[in-house]
Amino acid sequence: MSERILMKGNEAVGEAAVRAGCRLYFGYPITPASEIAEYMAYRLPQVGGTFVQAESEVSAVNMVYGAAAAGKYAMTASSSPGFSLMQEAISYMAGAEVPAVLVNVVRGGPGLGDIQPAQSDYFQMTKGGGHGDYRLLVFAPYTIQEVVNLMPTAYELAFKYRNPVVLALDGLIGQMMEAVEFTDFRNPDEIPIPEWAVSGKFRHGGKKNINTSLDLIPEKLEAHNWKLQKKYSEIEEKETRFSYFGVDNPETLVVAYGTVARVAMSALKKLLNAGRSIGILRPITLWPFPKQALAEKARHAKRIVVLEMSSGQMIEDVKLSVFDPNKQYEFYGHPGGVTFTPTEIEEYLVRG
Protein backbone atom coordinates (compact mmCIF):
# COMPACT_ATOMS: atom_id res chain seq x y z
CA MET A 1 0.00 0.00 0.00
CA SER A 2 1.21 3.46 -0.84
CA GLU A 3 0.48 6.82 0.74
CA ARG A 4 -2.99 8.26 1.02
CA ILE A 5 -3.92 10.56 -1.85
CA LEU A 6 -6.83 12.97 -1.90
CA MET A 7 -8.52 12.19 -5.16
CA LYS A 8 -11.74 12.60 -7.07
CA GLY A 9 -13.79 9.42 -7.37
CA ASN A 10 -13.72 9.40 -11.16
CA GLU A 11 -9.98 9.91 -11.25
CA ALA A 12 -9.51 7.15 -8.70
CA VAL A 13 -11.44 4.84 -11.04
CA GLY A 14 -8.86 5.57 -13.71
CA GLU A 15 -5.83 5.18 -11.49
CA ALA A 16 -7.18 1.98 -9.99
CA ALA A 17 -7.72 0.54 -13.47
CA VAL A 18 -4.19 1.48 -14.51
CA ARG A 19 -2.81 -0.22 -11.40
CA ALA A 20 -4.93 -3.29 -12.05
CA GLY A 21 -3.20 -3.61 -15.43
CA CYS A 22 -5.58 -1.83 -17.80
CA ARG A 23 -3.72 -0.10 -20.63
CA LEU A 24 -6.55 0.39 -23.11
CA TYR A 25 -9.34 2.85 -22.54
CA PHE A 26 -12.08 3.82 -24.97
CA GLY A 27 -14.57 6.50 -24.06
CA TYR A 28 -16.99 9.22 -25.03
CA PRO A 29 -17.60 12.28 -22.85
CA ILE A 30 -20.68 12.51 -20.63
CA THR A 31 -21.33 14.19 -17.29
CA PRO A 32 -20.80 13.04 -14.57
CA ALA A 33 -18.36 10.42 -15.88
CA SER A 34 -16.09 12.49 -18.13
CA GLU A 35 -13.25 12.81 -15.65
CA ILE A 36 -12.58 9.10 -16.04
CA ALA A 37 -11.86 9.62 -19.74
CA GLU A 38 -9.92 12.81 -19.04
CA TYR A 39 -7.80 11.09 -16.45
CA MET A 40 -7.05 8.17 -18.75
CA ALA A 41 -6.18 10.51 -21.64
CA TYR A 42 -3.57 12.05 -19.38
CA ARG A 43 -2.46 8.93 -17.53
CA LEU A 44 -2.30 6.11 -20.06
CA PRO A 45 0.42 7.64 -22.28
CA GLN A 46 2.63 7.86 -19.18
CA VAL A 47 2.50 4.09 -18.72
CA GLY A 48 2.64 3.01 -22.36
CA GLY A 49 -1.11 2.63 -22.69
CA THR A 50 -3.57 3.98 -25.22
CA PHE A 51 -6.60 6.20 -24.83
CA VAL A 52 -9.06 6.58 -27.69
CA GLN A 53 -11.89 9.08 -27.72
CA ALA A 54 -14.48 7.16 -29.68
CA GLU A 55 -17.16 8.71 -31.87
CA SER A 56 -19.92 7.34 -29.65
CA GLU A 57 -20.51 5.02 -26.73
CA VAL A 58 -21.54 2.41 -29.26
CA SER A 59 -18.12 2.58 -30.80
CA ALA A 60 -16.32 2.84 -27.47
CA VAL A 61 -17.84 -0.32 -26.07
CA ASN A 62 -17.14 -2.19 -29.29
CA MET A 63 -13.49 -1.16 -29.09
CA VAL A 64 -13.45 -2.59 -25.58
CA TYR A 65 -15.09 -5.70 -26.99
CA GLY A 66 -12.31 -6.08 -29.56
CA ALA A 67 -9.49 -5.45 -27.11
CA ALA A 68 -10.96 -7.78 -24.50
CA ALA A 69 -11.63 -10.52 -27.05
CA ALA A 70 -7.96 -10.13 -27.92
CA GLY A 71 -7.23 -10.94 -24.27
CA LYS A 72 -6.37 -7.55 -22.79
CA TYR A 73 -7.60 -5.60 -19.78
CA ALA A 74 -9.68 -2.83 -21.35
CA MET A 75 -12.21 -0.37 -20.04
CA THR A 76 -14.87 2.13 -20.90
CA ALA A 77 -16.97 4.31 -18.65
CA SER A 78 -20.07 6.33 -19.19
CA SER A 79 -23.23 7.57 -17.55
CA SER A 80 -26.77 6.36 -17.99
CA PRO A 81 -27.71 7.51 -21.53
CA GLY A 82 -24.33 6.35 -22.82
CA PHE A 83 -24.66 3.10 -20.92
CA SER A 84 -28.01 2.53 -22.62
CA LEU A 85 -26.28 2.85 -25.99
CA MET A 86 -23.84 0.13 -25.02
CA GLN A 87 -26.42 -2.54 -24.32
CA GLU A 88 -26.26 -4.32 -27.66
CA ALA A 89 -22.52 -4.89 -27.41
CA ILE A 90 -22.79 -5.88 -23.75
CA SER A 91 -25.28 -8.55 -24.70
CA TYR A 92 -22.91 -9.75 -27.43
CA MET A 93 -20.02 -9.83 -24.96
CA ALA A 94 -22.06 -11.84 -22.49
CA GLY A 95 -23.04 -14.23 -25.28
CA ALA A 96 -19.52 -14.54 -26.68
CA GLU A 97 -18.07 -14.65 -23.13
CA VAL A 98 -15.83 -11.63 -23.45
CA PRO A 99 -14.50 -10.18 -20.21
CA ALA A 100 -14.42 -6.43 -19.68
CA VAL A 101 -14.84 -3.87 -16.96
CA LEU A 102 -17.46 -1.23 -17.65
CA VAL A 103 -18.21 1.72 -15.40
CA ASN A 104 -21.62 3.37 -15.17
CA VAL A 105 -21.67 6.61 -13.22
CA VAL A 106 -25.43 6.68 -12.91
CA ARG A 107 -27.41 9.92 -13.34
CA GLY A 108 -31.08 10.83 -13.19
CA GLY A 109 -33.40 9.58 -15.94
CA PRO A 110 -35.33 8.52 -17.92
CA GLY A 111 -34.24 10.09 -21.19
CA LEU A 112 -31.76 12.89 -21.04
CA GLY A 113 -32.89 13.31 -17.43
CA ASP A 114 -30.35 15.30 -15.47
CA ILE A 115 -26.75 14.90 -14.40
CA GLN A 116 -27.24 14.43 -10.69
CA PRO A 117 -26.54 11.19 -8.79
CA ALA A 118 -29.12 8.41 -9.20
CA GLN A 119 -29.61 4.67 -8.90
CA SER A 120 -32.29 4.24 -11.50
CA ASP A 121 -30.19 2.00 -13.77
CA TYR A 122 -30.48 -0.89 -11.30
CA PHE A 123 -32.82 -2.89 -13.52
CA GLN A 124 -30.74 -2.17 -16.61
CA MET A 125 -27.55 -3.36 -14.96
CA THR A 126 -28.80 -6.33 -12.95
CA LYS A 127 -31.59 -7.78 -15.07
CA GLY A 128 -29.84 -7.68 -18.43
CA GLY A 129 -30.23 -4.27 -20.06
CA GLY A 130 -29.78 -5.75 -23.50
CA HIS A 131 -31.44 -8.64 -25.29
CA GLY A 132 -31.26 -12.29 -24.35
CA ASP A 133 -30.70 -14.24 -21.15
CA TYR A 134 -27.56 -12.98 -19.54
CA ARG A 135 -26.17 -11.54 -16.35
CA LEU A 136 -23.47 -9.09 -15.49
CA LEU A 137 -21.52 -9.07 -12.28
CA VAL A 138 -22.36 -5.67 -10.81
CA PHE A 139 -20.33 -4.07 -8.05
CA ALA A 140 -21.73 -1.09 -6.18
CA PRO A 141 -18.96 0.43 -4.06
CA TYR A 142 -19.96 3.11 -1.58
CA THR A 143 -16.66 4.87 -0.94
CA ILE A 144 -13.83 5.80 -3.24
CA GLN A 145 -11.58 3.42 -1.31
CA GLU A 146 -13.96 0.61 -2.04
CA VAL A 147 -13.91 1.52 -5.75
CA VAL A 148 -10.13 1.21 -5.65
CA ASN A 149 -10.19 -2.05 -3.71
CA LEU A 150 -12.71 -3.67 -6.02
CA MET A 151 -11.00 -2.77 -9.30
CA PRO A 152 -8.43 -5.62 -9.41
CA THR A 153 -11.16 -8.01 -8.31
CA ALA A 154 -13.41 -6.76 -11.10
CA TYR A 155 -10.78 -7.61 -13.72
CA GLU A 156 -9.87 -10.93 -12.16
CA LEU A 157 -13.47 -12.06 -12.02
CA ALA A 158 -14.22 -10.77 -15.50
CA PHE A 159 -11.43 -12.97 -16.85
CA LYS A 160 -12.07 -15.87 -14.51
CA TYR A 161 -15.69 -16.14 -15.60
CA ARG A 162 -15.25 -14.60 -19.06
CA ASN A 163 -18.07 -12.19 -18.41
CA PRO A 164 -18.49 -8.41 -18.43
CA VAL A 165 -18.32 -6.78 -15.00
CA VAL A 166 -19.93 -3.45 -14.19
CA LEU A 167 -18.91 -0.96 -11.56
CA ALA A 168 -22.07 0.90 -10.64
CA LEU A 169 -21.24 4.31 -9.28
CA ASP A 170 -23.26 7.48 -9.17
CA GLY A 171 -22.51 11.14 -9.75
CA LEU A 172 -21.77 11.70 -6.11
CA ILE A 173 -19.05 9.07 -5.78
CA GLY A 174 -17.66 10.12 -9.14
CA GLN A 175 -17.45 13.80 -8.33
CA MET A 176 -16.44 13.80 -4.67
CA MET A 177 -12.89 13.72 -3.32
CA GLU A 178 -11.60 11.55 -0.57
CA ALA A 179 -8.30 10.15 0.61
CA VAL A 180 -7.51 6.78 -0.93
CA GLU A 181 -4.73 4.27 -0.68
CA PHE A 182 -3.90 2.51 -3.91
CA THR A 183 -2.81 -1.04 -4.40
CA ASP A 184 0.50 -1.77 -6.10
CA PHE A 185 0.86 -1.80 -9.86
CA ARG A 186 0.22 -5.01 -11.70
CA ASN A 187 2.54 -5.32 -14.66
CA PRO A 188 0.28 -5.78 -17.69
CA ASP A 189 3.00 -7.76 -19.46
CA GLU A 190 2.68 -10.39 -16.76
CA ILE A 191 -1.03 -10.85 -17.38
CA PRO A 192 -1.13 -13.88 -19.66
CA ILE A 193 -3.02 -13.66 -22.94
CA PRO A 194 -5.71 -16.31 -22.54
CA GLU A 195 -5.72 -19.32 -24.86
CA TRP A 196 -9.15 -18.36 -26.17
CA ALA A 197 -8.15 -14.83 -27.26
CA VAL A 198 -8.37 -13.80 -30.90
CA SER A 199 -4.78 -12.71 -31.06
CA GLY A 200 -3.41 -14.48 -34.12
CA LYS A 201 -3.09 -18.26 -34.35
CA PHE A 202 0.65 -18.14 -33.67
CA ARG A 203 -0.13 -17.08 -30.09
CA HIS A 204 -2.09 -20.19 -29.26
CA GLY A 205 -0.64 -23.16 -31.02
CA GLY A 206 -1.84 -22.63 -34.57
CA LYS A 207 -5.44 -23.64 -34.01
CA LYS A 208 -7.91 -20.94 -34.93
CA ASN A 209 -10.05 -19.20 -32.35
CA ILE A 210 -13.51 -17.98 -33.22
CA ASN A 211 -15.22 -15.51 -30.96
CA THR A 212 -18.90 -15.32 -31.72
CA SER A 213 -22.28 -15.09 -30.06
CA LEU A 214 -24.00 -16.56 -33.10
CA ASP A 215 -25.31 -20.09 -33.36
CA LEU A 216 -28.02 -20.64 -35.91
CA ILE A 217 -28.91 -24.08 -34.60
CA PRO A 218 -31.46 -23.53 -31.82
CA GLU A 219 -30.57 -26.71 -29.93
CA LYS A 220 -26.94 -25.70 -29.84
CA LEU A 221 -27.79 -22.19 -28.78
CA GLU A 222 -29.99 -23.61 -26.06
CA ALA A 223 -27.09 -25.70 -24.80
CA HIS A 224 -24.90 -22.61 -24.84
CA ASN A 225 -27.53 -20.76 -22.82
CA TRP A 226 -27.64 -23.49 -20.21
CA LYS A 227 -23.89 -23.39 -20.02
CA LEU A 228 -24.07 -19.65 -19.36
CA GLN A 229 -26.71 -20.21 -16.70
CA LYS A 230 -24.48 -22.72 -14.98
CA LYS A 231 -21.74 -20.16 -14.91
CA TYR A 232 -24.12 -17.58 -13.46
CA SER A 233 -25.12 -20.04 -10.73
CA GLU A 234 -21.49 -20.49 -9.85
CA ILE A 235 -21.02 -16.73 -9.68
CA GLU A 236 -24.06 -16.47 -7.42
CA GLU A 237 -22.66 -19.10 -5.15
CA LYS A 238 -19.13 -17.75 -4.94
CA GLU A 239 -19.11 -14.04 -5.62
CA THR A 240 -22.00 -12.55 -3.68
CA ARG A 241 -20.80 -9.72 -1.46
CA PHE A 242 -22.46 -7.52 1.11
CA SER A 243 -21.74 -5.77 4.35
CA TYR A 244 -23.86 -5.45 7.44
CA PHE A 245 -23.80 -2.86 10.19
CA GLY A 246 -26.08 -2.85 13.22
CA VAL A 247 -27.50 -5.13 15.91
CA ASP A 248 -27.68 -8.86 15.35
CA ASN A 249 -31.40 -9.38 14.90
CA PRO A 250 -32.76 -5.94 14.09
CA GLU A 251 -36.40 -4.97 14.35
CA THR A 252 -35.84 -2.55 11.52
CA LEU A 253 -33.69 -3.70 8.64
CA VAL A 254 -32.55 -1.05 6.20
CA VAL A 255 -31.39 -2.11 2.74
CA ALA A 256 -29.42 0.37 0.64
CA TYR A 257 -26.35 0.42 -1.59
CA GLY A 258 -23.79 2.89 -2.90
CA THR A 259 -24.16 6.52 -1.95
CA VAL A 260 -27.52 5.99 -0.28
CA ALA A 261 -26.01 3.41 2.06
CA ARG A 262 -23.26 5.82 2.90
CA VAL A 263 -25.62 8.66 3.71
CA ALA A 264 -27.78 6.25 5.68
CA MET A 265 -24.79 5.24 7.81
CA SER A 266 -24.86 8.65 9.46
CA ALA A 267 -28.45 8.11 10.50
CA LEU A 268 -27.82 4.52 11.56
CA LYS A 269 -24.96 5.51 13.82
CA LYS A 270 -27.18 7.96 15.64
CA LEU A 271 -30.07 5.56 15.99
CA LEU A 272 -27.82 2.76 17.24
CA ASN A 273 -26.35 5.12 19.82
CA ALA A 274 -29.88 5.86 20.93
CA GLY A 275 -30.36 2.14 21.52
CA ARG A 276 -32.60 1.33 18.61
CA SER A 277 -32.87 -2.18 17.22
CA ILE A 278 -31.77 -1.43 13.71
CA GLY A 279 -29.27 -2.53 11.08
CA ILE A 280 -28.34 -1.85 7.48
CA LEU A 281 -27.57 -4.48 4.91
CA ARG A 282 -25.58 -3.09 2.02
CA PRO A 283 -25.30 -5.20 -1.12
CA ILE A 284 -21.79 -4.78 -2.56
CA THR A 285 -22.74 -6.94 -5.51
CA LEU A 286 -26.11 -5.92 -6.93
CA TRP A 287 -25.93 -9.03 -9.04
CA PRO A 288 -25.49 -11.56 -7.61
CA PHE A 289 -27.85 -10.13 -5.03
CA PRO A 290 -27.16 -11.17 -1.41
CA LYS A 291 -30.43 -13.06 -1.09
CA GLN A 292 -29.52 -15.43 1.68
CA ALA A 293 -27.83 -12.89 3.89
CA LEU A 294 -30.80 -10.64 3.50
CA ALA A 295 -33.29 -13.37 4.34
CA GLU A 296 -31.34 -14.21 7.48
CA LYS A 297 -31.06 -10.63 8.66
CA ALA A 298 -34.73 -10.08 7.97
CA ARG A 299 -35.87 -13.10 9.96
CA HIS A 300 -36.78 -11.16 13.11
CA ALA A 301 -37.36 -7.81 11.48
CA LYS A 302 -40.78 -6.20 11.53
CA ARG A 303 -39.92 -3.41 9.17
CA ILE A 304 -37.80 -3.79 6.08
CA VAL A 305 -36.96 -0.38 4.72
CA VAL A 306 -35.49 -0.06 1.24
CA LEU A 307 -33.86 3.24 0.37
CA GLU A 308 -32.96 3.98 -3.23
CA MET A 309 -32.27 6.95 -5.44
CA SER A 310 -34.91 5.63 -7.82
CA SER A 311 -38.62 5.04 -7.68
CA GLY A 312 -38.13 1.51 -6.42
CA GLN A 313 -36.10 -1.08 -8.29
CA MET A 314 -33.93 -3.03 -5.85
CA ILE A 315 -36.97 -3.44 -3.59
CA GLU A 316 -38.19 -6.13 -5.97
CA ASP A 317 -35.11 -8.21 -5.23
CA VAL A 318 -35.47 -7.49 -1.53
CA LYS A 319 -39.02 -8.85 -1.51
CA LEU A 320 -38.04 -11.88 -3.56
CA SER A 321 -35.20 -12.61 -1.17
CA VAL A 322 -37.16 -12.27 2.05
CA PHE A 323 -40.19 -13.92 0.49
CA ASP A 324 -42.45 -13.39 3.48
CA PRO A 325 -45.78 -11.64 2.95
CA ASN A 326 -46.13 -10.98 6.67
CA LYS A 327 -43.30 -8.51 6.78
CA GLN A 328 -43.79 -4.82 6.46
CA TYR A 329 -41.93 -3.62 3.37
CA GLU A 330 -41.37 0.09 3.03
CA PHE A 331 -39.89 1.91 0.12
CA TYR A 332 -38.50 5.37 0.50
CA GLY A 333 -36.86 6.82 -2.56
CA HIS A 334 -35.80 9.78 -4.62
CA PRO A 335 -35.88 9.35 -8.37
CA GLY A 336 -34.60 11.95 -10.80
CA GLY A 337 -31.25 12.82 -9.28
CA VAL A 338 -32.28 13.96 -5.82
CA THR A 339 -29.97 12.77 -3.06
CA PHE A 340 -31.01 11.75 0.42
CA THR A 341 -29.86 13.77 3.38
CA PRO A 342 -28.83 12.10 6.65
CA THR A 343 -31.48 13.94 8.68
CA GLU A 344 -34.19 12.95 6.29
CA ILE A 345 -33.27 9.27 6.59
CA GLU A 346 -33.06 9.51 10.36
CA GLU A 347 -36.46 11.16 10.61
CA TYR A 348 -38.00 8.64 8.26
CA LEU A 349 -36.65 5.70 10.24
CA VAL A 350 -37.88 7.15 13.52
CA ARG A 351 -41.25 8.22 12.19
CA GLY A 352 -41.93 5.02 10.29
Binding site: L6, I115, G171, L172, Q175, M176, M177, R262, T339, P342
Partner: protein
Amino acid sequence: MTKDLVVAGFGGQGVMLLGQIIALAATEKGLNATWLPSYGPEQRGGTANCTVVVSDEEIASPLTDKPQFAVIMNNPSMAKFEPKMAAGGTLIYNSTLVTQVPARQDIKVVAIPANELAEQAGSARSANMVMLGVMAWVWRDVFTQEDLLTAMVHKVGDKRPQLLEINKKAFALGYEAAQKAI
Protein backbone atom coordinates in the same frame (compact mmCIF):
# COMPACT_ATOMS: atom_id res chain seq x y z
CA MET B 1 -14.38 14.66 16.17
CA THR B 2 -16.41 15.23 13.01
CA LYS B 3 -16.81 18.69 11.50
CA ASP B 4 -18.46 19.82 8.36
CA LEU B 5 -18.26 22.98 6.32
CA VAL B 6 -20.09 24.37 3.34
CA VAL B 7 -18.27 26.86 1.12
CA ALA B 8 -20.52 28.69 -1.33
CA GLY B 9 -20.25 31.57 -3.76
CA PHE B 10 -20.04 32.49 -7.42
CA GLY B 11 -18.18 30.15 -9.73
CA GLY B 12 -14.84 31.92 -10.06
CA GLN B 13 -14.55 32.97 -6.43
CA GLY B 14 -12.44 29.94 -5.72
CA VAL B 15 -14.86 28.28 -3.35
CA MET B 16 -14.10 24.81 -4.70
CA LEU B 17 -10.39 25.39 -4.22
CA LEU B 18 -10.88 26.64 -0.68
CA GLY B 19 -12.75 23.47 0.21
CA GLN B 20 -10.13 21.28 -1.47
CA ILE B 21 -7.28 22.91 0.44
CA ILE B 22 -9.00 22.17 3.74
CA ALA B 23 -9.72 18.58 2.71
CA LEU B 24 -6.11 18.18 1.61
CA ALA B 25 -4.76 19.62 4.86
CA ALA B 26 -6.86 17.11 6.78
CA THR B 27 -5.67 14.24 4.59
CA GLU B 28 -2.04 15.28 5.02
CA LYS B 29 -2.55 15.28 8.79
CA GLY B 30 -3.79 11.71 8.66
CA LEU B 31 -7.40 12.67 9.28
CA ASN B 32 -10.26 11.53 7.09
CA ALA B 33 -11.80 14.08 4.78
CA THR B 34 -14.37 14.23 2.03
CA TRP B 35 -14.95 17.02 -0.47
CA LEU B 36 -18.20 17.06 -2.34
CA PRO B 37 -18.85 19.62 -5.08
CA SER B 38 -22.04 20.84 -6.62
CA TYR B 39 -21.60 20.12 -10.29
CA GLY B 40 -23.14 20.74 -13.65
CA PRO B 41 -25.12 23.72 -14.92
CA GLU B 42 -25.48 24.87 -11.35
CA GLN B 43 -21.86 25.95 -11.57
CA ARG B 44 -22.14 28.04 -14.71
CA GLY B 45 -22.75 31.65 -13.90
CA GLY B 46 -24.73 30.82 -10.81
CA THR B 47 -23.55 29.62 -7.47
CA ALA B 48 -21.06 26.91 -6.79
CA ASN B 49 -20.63 25.17 -3.49
CA CYS B 50 -18.80 22.34 -1.88
CA THR B 51 -19.12 20.43 1.34
CA VAL B 52 -16.09 19.38 3.34
CA VAL B 53 -16.28 16.82 6.13
CA VAL B 54 -13.26 16.32 8.37
CA SER B 55 -13.12 13.57 10.96
CA ASP B 56 -10.83 11.35 12.98
CA GLU B 57 -13.30 8.54 12.38
CA GLU B 58 -14.53 6.93 9.19
CA ILE B 59 -16.80 9.41 7.45
CA ALA B 60 -20.33 8.24 6.77
CA SER B 61 -22.26 10.81 4.77
CA PRO B 62 -20.13 13.20 2.73
CA LEU B 63 -23.10 15.51 2.41
CA THR B 64 -24.83 17.39 5.12
CA ASP B 65 -28.23 19.02 5.27
CA LYS B 66 -27.48 20.98 8.44
CA PRO B 67 -24.01 22.44 8.11
CA GLN B 68 -22.17 23.25 11.33
CA PHE B 69 -19.95 25.73 9.53
CA ALA B 70 -20.41 27.78 6.38
CA VAL B 71 -18.36 30.26 4.42
CA ILE B 72 -20.70 32.36 2.31
CA MET B 73 -19.26 34.49 -0.48
CA ASN B 74 -22.34 36.01 -2.19
CA ASN B 75 -26.02 36.84 -1.72
CA PRO B 76 -27.59 33.86 -3.51
CA SER B 77 -25.52 31.52 -1.35
CA MET B 78 -26.66 33.32 1.79
CA ALA B 79 -30.26 32.84 0.73
CA LYS B 80 -29.62 29.16 0.11
CA PHE B 81 -27.60 28.20 3.17
CA GLU B 82 -28.63 30.45 6.05
CA PRO B 83 -31.89 28.54 6.59
CA LYS B 84 -30.04 25.23 6.49
CA MET B 85 -27.47 25.98 9.18
CA ALA B 86 -27.48 23.72 12.23
CA ALA B 87 -28.54 25.52 15.40
CA GLY B 88 -25.41 26.68 17.17
CA GLY B 89 -23.48 26.62 13.90
CA THR B 90 -21.07 29.27 12.67
CA LEU B 91 -21.78 31.22 9.51
CA ILE B 92 -18.92 33.31 8.14
CA TYR B 93 -19.76 35.66 5.32
CA ASN B 94 -18.01 37.98 2.93
CA SER B 95 -19.34 41.34 4.09
CA THR B 96 -17.81 43.14 1.09
CA LEU B 97 -20.27 41.45 -1.26
CA VAL B 98 -23.06 40.04 0.87
CA THR B 99 -25.66 42.69 1.58
CA GLN B 100 -28.25 40.33 2.93
CA VAL B 101 -27.27 40.15 6.60
CA PRO B 102 -28.29 36.91 8.31
CA ALA B 103 -31.29 37.16 10.59
CA ARG B 104 -31.10 33.92 12.50
CA GLN B 105 -30.49 34.27 16.22
CA ASP B 106 -29.51 30.66 16.92
CA ILE B 107 -26.28 30.70 14.95
CA LYS B 108 -22.99 32.54 15.30
CA VAL B 109 -22.50 35.03 12.53
CA VAL B 110 -19.08 36.37 11.56
CA ALA B 111 -18.73 39.19 9.03
CA ILE B 112 -15.39 39.31 7.22
CA PRO B 113 -14.75 41.91 4.48
CA ALA B 114 -12.98 39.30 2.41
CA ASN B 115 -12.65 41.22 -0.85
CA GLU B 116 -11.42 44.33 0.93
CA LEU B 117 -8.77 42.38 2.82
CA ALA B 118 -7.78 40.53 -0.32
CA GLU B 119 -7.28 43.82 -2.12
CA GLN B 120 -5.09 44.98 0.75
CA ALA B 121 -3.08 41.80 0.23
CA GLY B 122 -2.71 42.62 -3.44
CA SER B 123 -5.63 41.05 -5.34
CA ALA B 124 -9.39 40.80 -4.82
CA ARG B 125 -9.13 37.34 -6.32
CA SER B 126 -7.54 36.10 -3.12
CA ALA B 127 -10.74 36.56 -1.12
CA ASN B 128 -10.95 32.77 -0.81
CA MET B 129 -7.52 32.75 0.84
CA VAL B 130 -8.70 35.36 3.31
CA MET B 131 -11.43 32.91 4.21
CA LEU B 132 -8.88 30.11 4.48
CA GLY B 133 -7.11 32.25 7.08
CA VAL B 134 -10.44 32.73 8.85
CA MET B 135 -11.00 28.97 8.90
CA ALA B 136 -7.49 28.50 10.30
CA TRP B 137 -8.64 30.41 13.36
CA VAL B 138 -12.15 28.94 13.50
CA TRP B 139 -10.83 25.38 13.27
CA ARG B 140 -7.67 25.98 15.28
CA ASP B 141 -8.55 22.90 17.32
CA VAL B 142 -8.01 20.86 14.14
CA PHE B 143 -5.35 22.65 12.12
CA THR B 144 -2.29 24.77 12.71
CA GLN B 145 -1.81 27.70 10.34
CA GLU B 146 1.14 25.78 8.95
CA ASP B 147 -1.07 22.79 8.07
CA LEU B 148 -3.32 24.91 5.92
CA LEU B 149 -0.55 26.97 4.37
CA THR B 150 1.33 23.82 3.36
CA ALA B 151 -1.80 22.35 1.81
CA MET B 152 -2.35 25.64 -0.01
CA VAL B 153 1.10 25.48 -1.55
CA HIS B 154 0.57 21.84 -2.50
CA LYS B 155 -2.70 22.71 -4.15
CA VAL B 156 -1.91 25.93 -6.00
CA GLY B 157 1.80 25.22 -6.54
CA ASP B 158 4.72 27.57 -6.07
CA LYS B 159 5.36 28.35 -9.74
CA ARG B 160 4.11 31.90 -9.37
CA PRO B 161 5.87 33.26 -6.29
CA GLN B 162 4.16 36.65 -6.53
CA LEU B 163 0.72 35.13 -6.39
CA LEU B 164 1.78 32.89 -3.55
CA GLU B 165 2.94 35.92 -1.57
CA ILE B 166 -0.41 37.63 -2.10
CA ASN B 167 -2.23 34.47 -1.05
CA LYS B 168 -0.14 34.15 2.11
CA LYS B 169 -0.75 37.78 2.97
CA ALA B 170 -4.46 37.33 2.40
CA PHE B 171 -4.40 34.27 4.64
CA ALA B 172 -2.67 36.23 7.41
CA LEU B 173 -5.15 39.11 7.15
CA GLY B 174 -8.04 36.65 7.33
CA TYR B 175 -6.58 34.93 10.37
CA GLU B 176 -6.09 38.26 12.12
CA ALA B 177 -9.60 39.48 11.30
CA ALA B 178 -11.10 36.27 12.63
CA GLN B 179 -9.13 36.53 15.84
CA LYS B 180 -10.59 39.98 16.38
CA ALA B 181 -14.11 39.09 15.33
CA ILE B 182 -14.53 35.86 17.26
